[in-house]
């Protein structure tokens, strides 16, 4: 049983609301880790602060639940000090892209070998529904009672532009596909980003009249277009939809590998 091996029984029950998408995403992460055969003792899970970031505590690895927005900076220290470790960051859309936005682009730029899963529920769940950098324009939040004036990021485009070498998007509805994409992200030797679209029925769903968790999952199903299918569609046919699948894959020197080479050279071991 995956749950027995990879979850901390002592941390149950979890804090997530019924119908929350975060548990589905955590399960996809666990499946991907298992399939990739990562050594459980050599894998460190780092998270920030938010409902999504609580996932680290539920997982049976060395786990680091840090400060809001800073998971990637902590993870960078872990990975650099011991490059042998597999480092996975679990973060929310607010955590990664508002308070942590600067760390995010710089981690992409460095191409440090860390896999980052962004649990994107388009809202600040933990603090009861304020708008995030992923809340769509015009949507409602407790701090956008008249509609959100901000525009949201396309985090996959952002990651690609900033230098990430693997970028993918999936949804809680497409959980199996998500696990495959996370698997590829783990296999990439460099900085990988998977945007995992989640649902927060409690705050985002209710306020924006999106119905139940099932309705929100159906919305994900109906609005997601696979990258291969999207390639055959005209822009107007993609209006209001979003693309899922592997969106970017490239190769670039990995940060800790370069540093190891520097150490070897300076110590005359090369």
């Amino acid at each position: 049983m995956l749950a027995e091996k990879y979850l901390r029984d002592a941390m149950m029950p979890h804090i997530w609301c019924p119908g929350c998408g975060h548990g589905i995403i955590m399960q996809a992460v666990i499946k991907a880790i298992d399939k990739a055969g990562l050594d459980q003792d050599k894998t460190v899970i780092v998270s920030g602060i938010g409902c999504s970031s609580r996932a680290s505590g539920y997982m049976n690895f060395d786990t680091l639940h840090t400060t809001h927005g800073r998971a990637l900076a902590f993870a960078t220290g872990v990975k650099m000090a011991n490059p042998e470790l597999n480092v996975i960051v679990l973060t929310g859309d607010g955590d990664a892209l508002a308070i942590g936005g600067n760390h995010f682009i710089h981690a992409c730029r460095r191409n440090i070998d860390i896999t980052t899963i962004i649990f994107n529920n388009s809202i600040y769940g933990m603090t009861s529904g304020q708008y995030s950098p992923m809340t769509p324009h015009g949507h409602l939040a407790t701090t956008a009672p008249h509609g959100n004036m901000d525009r949201n990021f396309d985090v996959c485009e952002l990651a690609k532009a900033a230098g990430a070498t693997y970028v993918a998007r999936s949804t809680a509805y497409h959980a199996a596909g998500m696990a495959d994409l996370i698997g590829k992200a783990l296999a990439n030797k460099g900085f990988s980003v998977v945007e995992a679209i989640s649902q927060c029925p409690t705050y985002y769903g209710r306020r924006n009249k999106q119905g139940s968790a099932i309705d929100m999952l159906n919305w994900q199903k109906e609005h997601a277009v696979n990258v291969a299918a999207a390639a055959r569609l005209k822009p107007e046919q993609l209006e209001g939809k979003f693309v899922i699948g592997e969106l970017h894959s490239s190769s670039a020197p990995e940060f800790t590998e370069q540093y190891d080479q520097l150490v070897a050279r300076l110590q005359g071991r090369e």
Partner: protein
């Protein structure tokens, strides 16, 4: 072998001390007057198999240091006022999660961007209370280049021994001034490494108070599979809001420092045996104060110096002891009144206290301190 004699800046001596202590990871962000520490470590660390990284800001630097330390690496960052402000949240995280590390603050005049290249002792209260919540902290304060070397090693030793961040406060003049220093081949004091767990991996509890006030810290990546969180946590490191568990944790956090004051409190006194006028000063100001003591003695005034080296925890006992002996106590510091309030608290009204406070970016001259001593004699 004989020691190497060098003419080094305080910032360079800090680097030498850190390397002698076994530094393996540095993350920082450039800021005057601390930048030389980062520059020298960028050059030196990879040569000894360590890692240097310039992060995107000071928040990230502090975070990376904590992450690195959790893998077992001795880790440090260095900054000045504005950057020290940015580090506070993650510094608090390190105190609460008990992750050893050293934070160097080479102070400049403040507030805000202030006087980037001028000396000031403006962050001593921030070092104590800059991060939110009840927490103990160790802060030590050199007053010369050779002492910077030695205290940097001690900072790492305290960090490892007590599983805590340690702040090394430096004056801009100490950081930038060159002084003669003897660098021994071997560290001049024994190097302390953090205690490692001795229990079977499956039984390891990272915050187990039954292991003493400083429970051993395992390394990430060695199979202990433990959790670290900035939420209030139980012995296992798992979040809790139970009042009894909260109290146990906060008590132990304080006890581990306050029950070891004999080890942690460092100070120096000069001519205090028969002193009637005490001069309390630290860092670079203590050098002016030492001169003022000489000048006063030449004039027949029985003056003496009290120089705390550990400023946090504050040496209450030291002050209380001399307060009874002295006719007056002069407190000199390069700020508008920070540690003097601690001195007054510790003296408990037993001795009149004269303040010599200056925050104009200039060192306090010996004559200024002397004059104050003569006024109260």
């Amino acid at each position: 072998m004989s020691p190497t004699v060098k003419l080094l800046q305080g910032n360079e001596a800090c680097v030498e001390g850190a390397l002698a202590a076994g530094l393996k990871f540095f993350a920082g962000y450039p800021i005057t007057p601390s930048t030389e520490i980062a520059e020298h470590l960028a050059e030196r660390l990879p040569r000894v198999g360590g890692r240097f990284i310039q992060m995107e800001d000071e928040i990230a630097s502090m975070a990376a240091v904590v992450g690195a330390s959790l893998t077992g690496a001795k880790a440090m960052t260095a900054t000045s006022g504005p950057g020290f402000s940015l580090k506070q949240e993650n510094l608090g995280f390190a105190t609460f999660t008990e992750v050893p590390c050293v934070v160097v603050n080479v102070m400049r005049g403040g507030p805000s961007t202030g006087l980037p290249t001028s000396p000031a002792q403006s962050d001593v209260m921030q070092a104590r209370w800059g991060t939110h919540g009840d927490h103990p902290i160790i802060a030590i304060y050199p007053s010369s280049v050779p002492e910077t070397y030695e205290l940097t090693i001690k900072a790492f030793n305290f960090a490892e021994k007590y599983r805590t961040p340690v702040i090394l406060l430096m004056d801009e003049v100490i950081g930038h001034m060159r002084e003669r220093i003897e660098l021994p081949d071997e560290p001049p004091i024994p190097i302390i490494d953090r205690a490692k767990p001795t229990v079977p991996k499956s039984e390891y509890l990272p915050f187990d108070e039954s292991q003493g006030d400083v429970p051993p810290l395992a390394n990430f990546g060695e199979g202990y599979r433990f959790h670290i969180t900035g939420l209030t946590h139980d012995q296992r490191g798992f979040p809790t809001s139970a009042p009894d568990k909260t109290a146990v944790l906060l008590d132990r956090l304080h006890n581990k420092i306050y029950n070891s004051l004999d080890d942690i409190l460092l100070w120096e006194t000069i001519d205090m045996e028969d002193a009637e006028i005490g001069i309390f000063a630290y860092g670079a100001t203590a050098r002016s104060a030492t001169r003022a003591v000489r000048l006063a003695r030449e004039q027949g005034v029985k003056a003496g110096l009290i120089r705390p080296i550990t400023i946090w925890p504050f040496p209450d006992q030291l002050i209380a002891q001399y307060a009874k002996q002295l006719k007056a106590l002069v407190v000199a510091e390069m700020n508008l009144g920070q540690l003097v309030n601690e001195v007054e608290r510790a003296a408990q009204g037993q001795v009149p206290i004269k303040r010599v406070l200056q925050a104009n970016g200039e060192l306090i001259l010996p004559e200024t301190i002397l004059q104050a001593a003569l006024e109260v004699k």
